[in-house]
């Protein structure tokens, strides 16, 4: 009896599995070879539910606007998880496009799974007006070191310091004067010392700001023009005096901010900890990116006026006209299906058109990536009504040049992690040696560069 039961169980198991496999196959295969059916174009993203909602609306509009393609969006975990998945997925299973951080452009440009936009732009007879109207600094950030367009911004972000205007006025600080890490330290000392708030500043804990501070100042921390005149072979944190001085100043300021309790614990979650404290007036400044604007304005809810100044530079030297771009772009994924990839190109173009790009920017807080989006009625309304302070960012953008971008480096993740570790080392320990922290970061970045170059050449 038991024997029969066990056999039956095993049978059910086997049957169940094959049945599941089959039924899944039916739903799983969506190859649209039929020419009358629209081509299904899939976008892989790491955006969470809110931003996917906005993207979905743009995709719905696109799908309704023409009959050749239907775009659908699939969530694939965090950015790291999604990248790992793309890297090991066979071409036939890949989507037609994916989202990726702008700092990873060099990595994508060197990868088989990414089809640079440039060849599609060259073949496009209709032209792409919005591309020409894109801010130079963001356009350059999405190009490889030969000037070919790799991707296009989906959300154009940018480092900056959000401030509580009431508190700054009370403390007698002019926000526009906060331009370097020394300025930031002085402002925090004044704010906390004067008893205006518990903390001067909260930091979004990300290695991105480390490079942004250098880029702002026009400092190239890597050889071959930060990777734009040739492949990077060397990290200059220790050997180059200018770079080293800038890093020393910046990290010393970080260390002083924490030694004197002027900042919210480094590493605190920006949504759970920092924005609420900023909104409640416990903290006057928040170093983050403009894409957090909507969250901040929602939390503050009109309790005080929120302003923003561009990312501070590491020191007071240099040209200070660089605008290292942040944010997320869309890239065509090389899945071997030309029709799908062409559809991806059309969708990327569609997203860049004035109304669509303005919709995404005004909903999320990202910057308008091009002139058409900026000039659109809805974006102008955003600038005049929702967040007037954003104009300071555009003023700064107008003055920007290509003096510095993010380094064009294929090991951006390792670089950001090493930079973040250097910041954590000095913020966590007032006695930590700044030079040692710089040296450790330099060594691990150099090792990653050497390994990458050895493995890929």
């Amino acid at each position: 009896m038991k024997k029969i039961l066990a056999l039956a169980l095993a049978l059910v198991l086997a049957l169940g599995l094959t049945a599941c496999g089959k039924s899944a196959d039916k739903t799983g295969g969506d190859t649209n070879t039929d020419s009358t059916e629209p081509v299904n174009v899939v976008l892989w993203t790491y955006y969470g539910d809110t931003n996917i909602g906005y993207l979905q609306k743009i995709a719905d509009d696109f799908n309704a606007s023409q009959s050749k393609y239907t775009v659908s969006i699939e969530f694939q975990g965090t950015q790291a998880e999604m990248n790992a998945k793309i890297q090991s997925t066979a071409a036939s299973e890949l989507p037609a496009m994916f989202n990726g951080a702008v700092e990873n452009v060099a990595m994508y440009a060197n990868a088989d799974y990414c089809a640079p936009l440039q060849s599609y732009i060259d073949a496009d007879k209709d032209g792409w007006a919005q591309l020409d109207g894109t801010w130079d600094s963001i356009r350059a950030a999405y190009c490889d070191n030969k000037g070919n367009q790799v991707g296009y911004p989906c959300g154009y972000s940018y480092g900056g310091i959000f401030y509580n205007e009431d508190l700054l006025t009370k403390a007698g600080i002019n926000a526009a004067d906060i331009q370097s890490f020394d300025d930031l330290y002085a402002a925090c000392e004044k704010l906390v010392g004067g008893g205006y708030c518990t903390y001067g500043v909260g930091f979004h804990p990300d290695g991105f700001y480390f490079n942004a501070a250098l880029g702002r100042e026009g400092i190239q921390a890597y050889d071959n023009g930060n990777g734009y005149t040739g492949d990077i072979t060397k990290c200059l944190y220790v050997d180059d005096k200018t770079v080293n001085n800038a890093l020393t100043t910046m990290l010393t300021d970080y260390q002083k901010l924490y030694a004197n309790n002027l900042a919210i614990a480094f590493g605190s979650d920006y949504q759970g900890e920092i924005i609420p404290q900023f909104a409640s007036g416990d903290c006057a400044l928040f170093l983050g990116v403009v894409s957090m604007t909507t969250k901040i304005l929602k939390s503050v809810d009109g309790a005080f006026k929120v302003g923003i100044v561009p990312m501070v530079s590491a020191t007071e030297n240099g040209k200070r006209t660089g605008e290292p771009a942040g944010g997320t772009g869309t890239y065509i994924c090389n899945n071997g299906n030309e029709a799908q990839m062409q559809g991806a190109y059309e969708f990327i173009k569609w997203m860049s058109t004035g109304d669509q790009a303005a919709f995404f920017s005004t909903s999320t807080g990202y910057l308008a990536p091009n002139k058409e989006a900026y000039d659109s009625t809805s974006y102008q309304k955003y600038v005049s009504d929702t967040f007037p302070a954003i104009s300071t960012v555009y003023d700064s953008l107008a003055k920007s040049d290509d003096s510095a971008n993010n380094p064009y480096i294929p090991i951006s993740n390792e670089m950001k992690a090493a930079n973040l570790l250097a910041i954590q080392t000095v913020t966590g320990d007032p006695t930590a040696n700044v030079q040692d922290a710089i040296k450790t970061a330099c060594e691990s970045i150099q090792e990653a560069i050497d390994l990458y170059n050895a493995a890929n050449k």
């Binding site: 090991s88 900890e273 570790l421 954590q424 320990d429 390994l451 050895a454 493995a455």
Partner: protein, 296 residues
């Protein structure tokens, strides 16, 4: 006559093949999803890989030398050992106490028995959401209760304990259940005769319950060694190895290299090292098995 002779022979052949047949399904799956990838891991630890984790060229023992000569690697190993020890010891102790408390079945004993094991039913991501709420600095529950203002997860002295606390909380349930089954299987009459002989509760635990349940205890220790070393989700969800690498264990380091950085050969070396570490501790435990464990 010949038929009679043949039958036992085929039967014997069948009997000889039977154990292999019984093991075959499990082994086939292991080969496909564990041994094949692990052998690949071993091979790749002597090579360089591209971002997709594919072989590009042999480098001999270079990777091993590069990684094993780095101080940062050994500090990660130190943190791994420290966290594994804390997790293992605390999980075992608390689970043992809970299991002893719940061994005797009384009316409504199911109430506390359920509670002691309940966290095992909770996945790490929802649990982490709750612990983040407890640990957060501003309006965090723990700071509310203690009247402190500590950023539990971002300060070096507290982060490692905060992660361990959540890990232990999550691991206790499973150990508790297995220990409880073991303790309850200790024959009632043995306990009774011991009681009649005048043995107190502590003596009964030491001389009867623990030896009789030793196979279960042995299993729970074995399981906890592996799981303590492989604790991953809590670190990823609570601290991402920070602050300043103070909660970065080998398993998180492996994840960082393989998944985030695409440095597979480095991850491979570290994975083999972690494997050897777990192997070593398990060997020690097995060496003790024959001395301590009591099979009926």
């Amino acid at each position: 006559m010949s038929r009679q002779k043949e039958l036992p022979l085929t039967k014997r052949k069948r009997a000889r093949a039977l154990p292999y047949l019984l093991i075959a399904p499990a082994m086939a799956l292991f080969v496909m999803f564990t041994f094949y990838p692990f052998i690949r891991t071993i091979l790749l630890s002597f090579a360089l890989t591209n971002k997709s984790g594919n072989f590009t060229k042999w480098v001999g023992v270079d990777n091993w030398v590069r990684i094993l000569t780095k101080n940062s690697f050994w500090s990660v190993v130190g943190i791994t050992l420290k966290m594994a020890a804390v997790n293992l010891i605390c999980t075992m102790l608390v689970a043992m106490v809970f299991a002893l408390l719940a061994t005797k079945k009384v009316k409504f004993s199911k109430a506390y028995q359920t509670m002691y094991a309940l966290p095992m039913a909770i996945a790490s991501s929802p649990a982490a959401a709750i612990f983040l709420f407890i640990y957060r600095q501003k309006n965090g529950l723990l700071n509310n209760i203690l009247g402190t203002n500590i950023s539990w997860l971002t300060e070096k002295p507290t982060a490692i304990w905060a992660v361990c606390a959540m890990t232990i909380w999550m691991h206790i349930g499973v150990s508790f259940i297995f220990l409880l089954v073991g303790f309850r299987n200790v024959p009632e009459d043995l306990l009774e005769s011991a009681w009649l002989d005048g043995a107190g509760p502590m003596q009964r635990i030491r001389h009867i319950i623990l030896p009789m349940a030793s196979p279960q205890i042995f299993f729970v220790v074995f399981m906890n060694i592996a799981s303590s070393f492989k604790t991953f989700a809590q670190i990823k969800l609570l601290t991402q190895g920070g602050p300043a690498n103070s909660t970065k264990t080998l398993i998180y380091y492996i994840y960082e290299n393989a998944i985030i950085n695409g440095r597979f050969e480095t991850a491979c070396v570290q994975a083999i090292f972690l494997f050897l570490l777990i192997f070593l501790f398990t060997r020690i435990q097995f060496a003790l098995e024959n001395k301590v464990v009591h099979y009926q």
